[in-house]
């Protein structure tokens, strides 16, 4: 093509567009992008003037470098990723993204090197609410549901809450966390075993499907046993869960059965992430609606929902 202008390529926002206080379109740069375990990577992006954000919120990342034909090397629509951590210094902000390289978009992302540009849209969605009257936080997460809980652990600890995390994975080499050297993981004991949580004083109980790390069990079962042993804490605890849907559902059922406030961070296949396409629906109870339920949007009403609200089918 004869004329190819720089702004044909989706980068940051178009010239003349604006960024309000709440969310925007940003051209970030890769600071680090390194493997964490067999399928997971930790990506650090630096971006200027990123709006205020909180744990549970996510960003939509363009996992592609678009060319002027609109045909891309990577994925066409953006992919949603939880913000796994955020550090600010002046105008500059660093975002942590933990991702599992499994498809077109995430594999493209895994090939990006330091200094390369990545288009980020966000922050999106509603964050976790931190209960004022609940001083204990139980964080229940599996696999790629861990990133929002890592950032949440940092936030809770800064707010003076006591937290315990329950982390699951298929096996040891699929656990997207960094081991603390010299700390042994034994059975279902909470230990300061992983840097991400240990750095803010949060002990972790570990479970894997094959028993290659921690308990050979599913996270909700481990959590249920812990709860039985700590029944006295139930009235002062809140549950925050994120991970595969069966894990979240089982955790929510435990929380609801004990009357513990339970927040779940859900995933849906998304196109826009901004509430315009209506693709990311979650079934919620609504007595006023036909059949007693209606859909809400994971991207704008969530991704964090109160477990009581969700229809667990």
């Amino acid at each position: 093509m004869e004329r190819m202008e720089k702004d044909d390529v989706v980068t940051g926002a178009a010239p003349g567009s604006q960024v309000s206080g709440s969310r925007g379109l940003f051209l970030s740069r890769v600071v680090r992008n390194e493997p964490l375990c067999r399928e997971h990577f930790r990506l650090v992006l630096e971006v200027d003037d990123f709006p205020p954000a909180a744990p549970g919120q996510f960003v939509q990342i363009l996992c592609a470098e678009p060319n002027e034909l609109g045909w891309t090397q990577g994925a066409f629509i953006r992919r949603p990723f939880s913000i796994g951590g955020l550090r600010r210094g002046g105008r500059r902000c660093e975002l942590d993204i933990l991702y599992r390289a499994l498809g077109t978009g995430t594999r493209w992302l895994s090939r990006q090197r330091k200094g390369e540009p990545v288009s980020v849209l966000g922050p999106l969605g509603r964050p976790f609410e931190i209960h004022a009257d609940r001083e204990i936080a139980w964080l229940v997460g599996g696999g790629i549901g861990l990133p929002p809980l890592i950032w949440l652990a940092q936030t809770l600890s800064a707010a003076g809450r006591r937290a315990v995390a329950f982390c699951g994975a298929r096996s040891a080499d699929f656990m997207p966390l960094t081991r603390v050297a010299g700390v042994e993981i034994v059975g279902e004991q909470p230990v300061l075993a992983f840097e991400e949580f240990a750095s803010v004083g949060v002990p972790v109980i570990t479970a894997t499907d094959d028993g290659s790390l921690g308990a050979a069990a599913r996270v909700p079962d481990v959590f249920a046993r812990y709860l039985d042993q700590h029944a006295g804490q139930i009235s002062s605890a809140a549950i925050y869960a994120c991970g595969p849907e069966p894990m979240i559902r089982a955790t929510a059922q435990i929380g609801l059965a004990h009357g513990i406030p339970t927040a779940v961070c859900l995933e849906r296949v998304m196109a826009c992430g901004m509430g315009t396409c209506q693709s990311c629906v979650v079934r919620v109870h609504d007595a006023a609606a036909e059949e007693g339920w209606r859909y809400r949007l994971c991207c704008t009403d969530g991704p964090v929902f109160d477990a009581r609200e969700v229809v667990w089918d």
Partner: protein, 327 residues
């Protein structure tokens, strides 16, 4: 170059305004139904007043939950969607969404869908008198609900629908949105124009399908979905060209062209093929500021080609001169 000039200078030189029936738009770049919500969802990203017009998600008489998920899937160069016309319904649209729309400062086109002629009449009769509604666009082409489609594929049924709706639409510009899922799109286009449509918008999505091979089941709960995005652009362009030549040009009816537009070059292609205005849909998901990029590129293009008005581009396609590429 473009940034160096201030906006009033640019405006003084180049006329971007277009007419859709009685409605004059300050520029030909619109956002299309189902991809920009009901109003201010993209306000954090851009000044929506810079759009030529805004088109809402389809509105039906009663609220609709829409289809079960999974509702979308990415495919090569595009995506399939089977949203199923999920919307708040007419009453809540008027009470909750329209006030937001009217504050945007941009002409609002309300997209209307239904199962029967009475459905369309109910929505149009209620909305037509409202100042906030500049245009009514009949979605007779949604591929994701079973019964609405008949109006989009049967020229006789479409003629009856448009005739009856025309009788209740007195103020707003009446737009008919054509389905590409037909053998001869000029037949439905002609039937819409002969029955009183002020404007045609084209096209809605192409019916498509995606299969999860491991599970051996369809990816979308609805089985099929509508294909949008750059994958459909050449197909859409061809249909716009055909309808412009056979129907719209002779009748003097404007076309809003859409289907896979990502940048100003795509937009210029649609204008050259015969569109008066262009609609941007799926590209908004990737970059909500796409309309601004398209506008800036369009202005620059007109300047480079010494054209004073964007209207000069409509249908300007020239015969292929078959010259070998230079250099």
């Amino acid at each position: 170059m473009l940034q160096a000039m201030n906006e009033s200078q640019v405006a003084a030189q180049i006329d971007l305004s277009v007419r859709l029936g009685r409605l004059t738009l300050k520029n030909p770049v619109l956002t299309v139904s189902g991809t920009c919500g009901y109003g201010d969802e993209y306000a954090p990203f851009m000044d929506l007043r810079r759009l030529g017009a805004f088109t809402t998600k389809s509105v039906t008489v009663k609220e609709r939950k829409g289809n079960a998920p999974q509702r979308i899937v990415e495919t090569a160069g595009g995506m399939l969607n089977a949203i199923g016309l999920a919307n708040v319904g007419l009453d809540r649209f008027v009470a909750e969404k329209l006030p937001v729309l009217s504050r945007l400062g941009v002409p609002a086109i309300v997209n209307v869908a239904g199962h029967s002629i009475d459905d369309y009449l109910a929505v149009c009769a209620r909305l037509d008198p409202l100042d906030a509604v500049a245009g009514l666009e009949l979605n007779v082409s949604c591929p994701n609900v079973c019964d609405g489609l008949i109006f989009g594929t049967d020229p006789k049924a479409l003629a009856e629908l448009v005739k009856q709706v025309r009788a209740v639409v007195k103020r707003a510009v009446l737009i008919v949105k054509l389905s590409p899922n037909v053998t001869d799109i000029t037949a439905t286009a002609r039937s819409a124009v002969d029955s009183g449509a002020d404007c045609l918008s084209m096209i809605n999505t192409f019916v498509g399908m995606a299969i999860n091979v491991e599970r051996q089941e369809p990816v979308l709960a609805n089985l099929t979905g509508g294909l949008s995005g750059p994958a459909i652009k050449p197909l859409a362009l061809n249909l716009v060209y055909k309808v412009y030549q056979a129907v719209a040009k002779p009748a003097g009816i404007p076309i809003i062209g859409m289907g896979g537009i990502q940048n100003w070059r795509d937009a210029v292609e649609f204008l050259l093929a015969g569109a008066t205005a262009v609609g941007i849909g799926t590209a908004l998901f990737i970059d909500p500021t796409t309309p601004l990029r398209v506008l800036a590129g369009l202005e620059d293009y007109l300047r480079r080609h010494n054209l004073k008005s964007v209207r000069e581009l409509t249908g300007r396609l020239r015969p292929n001169r078959n010259e070998p590429p230079a250099g």
